[in-house]
């Protein structure tokens, strides 16, 4: 048995790695640095860069010795916008032209700080182009122009001057890069390392460590979701048993019809309607807040109501599948009563899928309910995540997604182990 548990845990490792990879692709590769969103339109390049550095966004995505910087925006004069051209002192079109002896003024957003290694790459052609680099394109050789790349590595503060000497020079592109500490000093490695240390970063909107936010939110979330799970399981299993017991009767048909109807009412409508009619108009429940257990009654009721339809149908299908098996016929044949067969035999044998269903619902206890919590003012993780989404608080969203996925994977293992435990037919090899 323990070997089975160990093997299932071992099999979960690729999934965990996959989840880390997917969140990385989603938030880092597609999303990119949230610096501009968090700090606003008027933030200076320097503070943006410091924000990136604190969160590891200043590194290359996967690997590399050099990484982009905000100190100087890379420019290609073939495609540059008029505004960018003006910033560089370039003309209306074409490459940037330097006359003999003229020096290129680099429009740094901020002076590259000392203590880092920087690389400036300037590509272009012309007699005045300092011939210290390698050729960067064979395309232009045919035109008779001499094309080169000028590279300068410097350590901040000092000015990396580019001067045309012995003729005019034309510059095609300019790029400034910062050295990384080593080849794999990348966002991916940094991110995976942080996740291994369970370092989820700092919330940008609340200025608190994400970890403490998660700890603060888990209590209220559980207070809401745990009762929902328990009540829902009890009610839906009872109703499903009732359906199975009286299958085909008007009761069964009616309940199934009600379930399908319940499934078709939008979740939002449940909440809006429940809060307005039951809490506000009729005054049966408090409308908003998180002070006493009475505040939880209505959200729990709504939570149960929204999930009830699907659950009753699911459990009913499972129970009915069991009802067709031979042992049930045998039990009936030897004269056992319907109730006895149902509770002692069928329910016990149908326990497997029920356990799987419940254990797969367990991780959702943690993420809480996004809408119920926000509507009823319960300061749980759902409320936290929704606010984080609205304020583009990437670190919080990522932490909730990641921990949720880890718990789901753990619940999967738990479900398999529990199934193997209750059902001897499950092969352990």
């Amino acid at each position: 048995m323990w070997r089975y548990v160990a093997r299932r845990l071992w099999q979960a490792i690729p999934t965990v790695a996959g989840v880390v990879l997917i969140t990385f692709v989603l938030f880092n590769v597609v999303g990119g640095s949230p610096a501009a969103m968090v700090l606003g339109q008027n933030a200076g390049a320097r503070s943006l860069e410091e924000f990136d550095a604190a969160r590891g966004y200043d590194k290359p995505l996967f690997f590399g010795n050099w990484t982009d910087t905000r100190a100087l925006d890379a420019v290609d004069f073939e495609t540059a916008a008029p505004g960018v051209r003006a910033q560089w002192g370039a003309g209306e079109s074409g490459w940037l032209r330097l006359e003999d002896g003229q020096e290129l003024a680099l429009p740094f957003a901020f002076q590259p700080p000392a203590g880092e290694r920087w690389r400036l790459t300037i590509a272009g052609r012309g007699a005045g182009f300092p011939r210290c680099g390698k050729k960067f394109s064979t395309l232009w050789k045919n035109s008779g122009d001499f094309s080169t790349v000028w590279k300068k590595i410097f350590h901040g503060m000092e000015k990396p001057a580019f001067r045309a000497e012995g003729g005019s020079a034309e510059i095609r592109s300019v790029k400034l890069e910062k050295a990384t500490r080593h080849f794999f000093d990348s966002q991916l490695v940094d991110y995976a390392g942080r996740m291994l240390r369970l370092d989820f970063g700092t919330s940008t909107s609340l200025n608190q460590p994400v970890w403490s936010l998660l700890k603060a939110g888990i209590g209220p979330s559980l207070a809401l979701t745990a009762p929902i799970l328990v009540v829902e399981l009890a009610v839906s299993l009872t109703l499903a048993l009732l359906c199975a017991y009286r299958r085909g009767s008007w009761l069964d048909r009616g309940l199934v019809a009600v379930c399908v109807a319940l499934m078709s009412v939008n979740y939002l409508v449940w909440i809006v309607f429940g809060q307005y009619v039951l809490a506000y108009r009729l005054g049966w429940f408090p409308v908003w807040g998180f002070e006493s257990w009475r505040n939880l009654l209505l959200p729990v009721f709504i939570g149960v109501a929204t999930g009830l339809g699907a659950n009753v149908r699911f459990y009913r299908t499972i129970l009915l599948e069991e009802m067709h098996k031979d042992y049930v016929r045998t039990a009936f044949a030897k004269g056992l009563g319907e109730g006895r067969v149902l509770f002692k035999h069928v329910l016990k044998n149908a326990l497997g899928p029920v356990i799987v269903n419940v254990s797969l619902a367990l991780p959702f206890l943690y993420t809480g309910s996004l809408l119920l919590e926000s509507f009823f003012g319960i300061p749980g993780l759902g409320y936290l995540s929704l606010n984080a989404i609205h304020s583009s608080d990437v670190d919080v969203v990522r932490a909730v997604v990641l921990v949720g996925a880890l718990l789901f994977t753990a619940a999967n293992v738990l479900a398999d182990v529990a199934l193997a435990w209750v059902d001897p037919r499950v092969k352990l090899s």
């Binding site: 999934t15 989603l26 999303g31 979740y267 939002l268 009915l320």
Partner: protein, 302 residues
């Protein structure tokens, strides 16, 4: 004589036509199809109207604000009443149907090909390919659904593109699993072995022979994921992440929610009824289709 005719009928009727006959035989299914036809035509009309006003560069009537007629209960001129800015609720509802239909179709166009392709490949080739497919689907499935949707929508940015991608990229897993299981089952069938013995290529066996036999799974999963997609769109638009500047059912609920507290019930009632009718029709039709297309399930369901 009639016995012979029955056999001939049975032999001549294709699986799909037989399934369709079963669905059509039920009055409830016909009612569902009628509801969905109305939904489709409304969405189509809404699309044409939207394009027409965009082409004319005019403000469409569902955006025209007229504060003198705001908060009107359903009356002869405005069948479903007006909202807080005097806009006709009925017209906005039709535009909402347009958005809901778009989301259901486009997200399916992302999710179903992805799920079918990966499921077929994994189920047919097995081994390393299957391992990769299982790994990918398990990974996607283990991320909490609604949060994943929200995160994708957040990263992609506000608007319908985010909604399409978020729903499409999170819901292919279910289709993939069903298709994979069905492909595994079909792979062992005689016709596949015969095709292999004839020396057909893998691509031909997979896409010409197996795919038509598993496509019914995709049809059922389409009808069942459509209402789910509508629900997610409503949720996202309600939060202000989905449809921007166009009337969607989610944004309508969002504004109607506040008006409800002032006693304006008709906007919320109209949206609720519309969503309920469409989702219910899809759910019932999905069940009927599943029963008709998957004879193995029929026995278990009584």
């Amino acid at each position: 004589m009639s016995g012979a005719a029955d056999i001939r009928d049975g032999a001549g009727v294709s699986f799909g036509r037989e399934a369709w006959r079963r669905v059509w035989a039920s009055r409830a299914s016909r009612a569902c199809l009628a509801v969905l036809a109305i939904f489709f035509l409304t969405a189509l009309a809404g699309e044409i109207a939207n394009d027409w006003y965009a082409w004319r560069d005019a403000t469409p009537p569902w955006q025209q604000q007229d504060l003198s007629v705001r908060y009107q209960a359903p009356c002869a001129e405005h069948w479903l009443g007006t909202d807080g800015l005097g806009r006709d609720v009925g017209l906005r509802l039709a535009q909402g149907a347009r958005i809901a239909f778009q989301v259901g179709v486009v997200s399916s166009l992302i999710a179903i090909p992805l799920g079918v392709l990966l499921g077929c490949l994994g189920g047919y080739f097995g081994g390393k390919t299957d391992d990769a497919v299982i790994w990918l689907s398990t990974t996607f499935a283990s991320i909490p659904g609604l949060l994943f949707v929200l995160a994708i929508a957040m990263v992609v940015g506000k608007g319908l593109l985010g909604v399409f991608l978020a729903i499409g990229l999170t819901t292919w897993v279910g289709t993939c699993r069903l298709i994979r299981a069905e492909t595994l089952r079909q792979k062992e069938r005689g016709y596949v072995r015969a095709a292999r013995a004839l020396g057909f290529s893998h691509g031909r066996i997979l896409f010409r022979h197996i795919l038509p036999n598993v496509v019914h799974v995709a049809v059922v999963s389409f009808t069942l994921r459509f209402p789910a997609a509508i629900g997610t769109e409503v949720f996202l638009s309600f939060l202000g992440i989905g449809a921007q500047g166009q009337p969607s059912w989610g944004t309508m609920i969002s504004s109607a929610r506040l008006r409800l507290w002032q006693g304006m019930w008709w906007e919320l009632a109209a949206v609720t009824a519309a969503i309920f009718a469409v989702v219910l029709a899809f759910n019932l039709l999905g069940d009927a289709l599943r029963d008709a297309l998957d004879p193995r399930l029929r026995a278990a369901r009584d």
